[in-house]
């Protein structure tokens, strides 16, 4: 039965994460960007929340809860959020390979960090034995590289040569270019990658959604305060309509994410829905984030305000996991799907 309430448990979790994001993550976002990592105090607080891979542990909180959590984290600092979660979207692949125990073993070792990529995230050739090529954007300290390809999932744990990058965004993740030269594949499995990629896309898209919500909200608040030509700039229709459209863009992407997440939690096929939600969030990010800067005008361009960071983070997040093009391919994997049924009926 149709119900848009997220449920009490998920709402409580969302509240706790929102408080952490507001009180610990957001105030330190610029410093984390400069230091290329969140500070230890923030990391300790994050760990006390017990968020890493929570949706894999059968506590009744699934992808919908993950979307809510990541939206809250993304609104504060998506780079730091990715850095703090040493499993991230790779957890879905690792759980498919080794079960939740395998994921928890990785979490237990503080020196390990997993990262999920697709071959479209660089130029890389992966066989069951070796991997060679370049990946354009990964965390510098990745230890367990997980590659999702049409033939299955490969985990590479050695032969990872990272070259630090400045990074257009997500600098708190400490991004790097990764070179693989006949790197041995530690683990390979022919498993269905669509459900893994669906979860990974929602993981990433919900972080991006948080950035967009933050950008849209910040622009609205600023526009209510800033006066030009005798009234708040939000009350000049040229900007009024832009601000409402930004809010609508975020709301639409959120609904698509939640529906896709619900499908996965309900055990339904959510691959197409997740790809659709990812594509919509990325497409709307190109509208919302730059326009948040636009609403602020000159000061929006300055690093004294957060919107320029939102714009960089949003664009960077949207390029992960093969970006929008791969998502659009997957969203139309089955072009014969009756659109009549797509009415949601």
């Amino acid at each position: 039965m149709i119900d848009f309430d997220t449920g009490e448990d998920a709402a409580l979790l969302q509240d706790a994460v929102t408080r952490f994001a507001r009180d610990a993550l957001a105030p330190n976002a610029r410093r984390a960007e400069a230091d290329r990592r969140p500070d230890d105090a923030t990391r300790h607080l994050y760990e006390s929340l017990g968020l890493t891979a929570f949706e894999l542990r059968g506590e009744g909180l699934g992808m919908v809860a993950r979307c809510l959590v990541n939206e809250a984290l993304g609104a504060a600092d998506p780079g730091a959020a990715l850095r703090l979660d040493r499993i991230g979207a790779a957890g879905y692949a690792l759980a498919a390979l080794d079960g939740v125990e395998g994921v928890e073993a990785l979490i237990a070792d503080p020196a390990r960090r997993a990262w999920l990529v697709t071959p479209e995230d660089g130029a890389v050739n992966v066989t069951e034995r070796t991997a060679s090529g370049t990946l354009h954007f990964v965390p510098a300290d990745v230890t367990d590289l997980v590659v999702l390809s049409a033939s299955g999932v490969a985990v590479i744990r050695s032969g990872l040569e990272a070259t630090p990058l400045r990074g257009a965004g997500l600098r708190a993740l400490d991004p790097a270019r990764l070179t693989l030269t006949h790197a041995p594949v530690a683990r390979f499995a022919r498993v269905a990658i669509a459900p893994i990629l669906a979860r990974a896309r929602l993981y990433t898209a919900s972080l991006l959604l948080g950035v967009l919500e933050a950008a849209s909200s910040y622009a609205r608040a600023y526009a209510r305060e800033r006066v030009a030509f005798g009234r708040p700039i939000a009350h000049h229709q040229g900007l009024t309509f832009l601000l409402t459209d930004m809010n609508t863009a975020v709301a639409g992407a959120r609904l698509l994410q939640h529906e896709a997440a619900w499908r996965l939690d309900a055990g339904l096929d959510g691959a197409e829905a997740a790809a659709t939600a990812f594509a919509e969030t990325v497409e709307q990010s190109a509208f919302v984030a730059p326009n948040a800067v636009q609403v602020l005008g000159g000061v929006g361009f300055m690093q004294d305000y957060p919107v320029e960071k939102y714009m960089r983070e949003a664009r960077t997040l949207g390029l992960l996991l093969g970006g929008i093009d791969l998502a659009r391919d997957d969203a139309m994997k089955n072009p014969a799907t009756a659109l009549m049924a797509q009415g949601g009926l």
Partner: protein, 391 residues
Amino acid sequence: MDFAIDADTQRHIESLREFGRDVIRPLGIERDRIGTPTPPDHPFFREVLARGLTRPPDRSGGDGGGVGPAVLRVITGNELAYWDRGVSSSLPGPGLGGGPVMGMGTDAQKTRLLTRFRDMSEPRWGAFAMTEPGAGSDVARIRTRAVKDGDEWVLNGAKLFSANADRADWIVVFATVDPDLGRAGHRAFVVERGMPGLSDPKPEKKMGIKAYASASFTMNDLRVPADNLLGGEALYEARSRGAGFKGAMQTFNATRPAIAANAVGMARACLDEAAAFVRETGVHDERCRDRLERMRRRSRAAWLMCLKAAWLADQGRPNMVEASMSKATAAEVAMEAASLGMELLGAVGAQGEHLIEKLYRDVKAMDIVEGTGQIQRIVMARHLVGYPRDA
């Protein structure tokens, strides 16, 4: 969180779908070619009543779930408009007039005006009249005058674009007791067919959605009994300012998601037809696919907005932003889908024979009726950024 549709509602949809395919779409195409609304004595309307299409679905053998009335309205509106929005707007029932009667009417008025629609032996219509030649988006500026004269009210003015007014038993007419009072001067009256002073409502000639009548009419010294003031004098005294205007706005909040759902249904029809065309003609390539993907995605987002706005209404929660959001988005998406469909048809679209060409004409109305996209943004802006009412 749950997006599943219960089995009873699914059966309701299936029955609408079957009737839509076999009857509604052919009739819509026929009326579009003829160019005039379906006459009220057309056998279609009796068939609609016989099938119980205007009744809520039977839940007697159901699974105990079920959706609320507003969600059911958007689901029904989506499916019917998929087959033909003009025909779906012509269906018997109280129409838009039902909202203010339910929301503002006294118990006696509700009984007198609405009970008749339970009788399925004969089609009956109600109507709603707000728009005037000089007051479209700015409904606060209506000029139809209402003057109290003893136990009666005397109405003078003109109304436009009133759906099914040409065949309605009654029309909820919004008038003002004093234009200088703005919204506070609004009153809602029930004008009944045959009342002296009411001109014969005249169907307008439209670009599309031709199967239903959008009628205009005038009121010249039209006398309505005091009993026909919706809610009675007490309503306007008790709420003091703007009860009539608020009644109209509440009507719109309830109906906007349904109109938006109509638009989504039309967008789906455009996409299905366009997808079928590119498949049949073999012009399906990556560019086509990407454009269809985008429209499908945008339609889906718009549909979820409709569902959420309706669900909030069923929960008794405020839904003004969501209702306007769904309406603004769905109307734009539908227009884009129709335009894309025409583009994919190429010169075939220019021939004026394809269903997408009809949809292209039909769908434009969705961004105009019950508040243009610009008005929806203003409504949202009042909540989001405190946009002033007098700006």
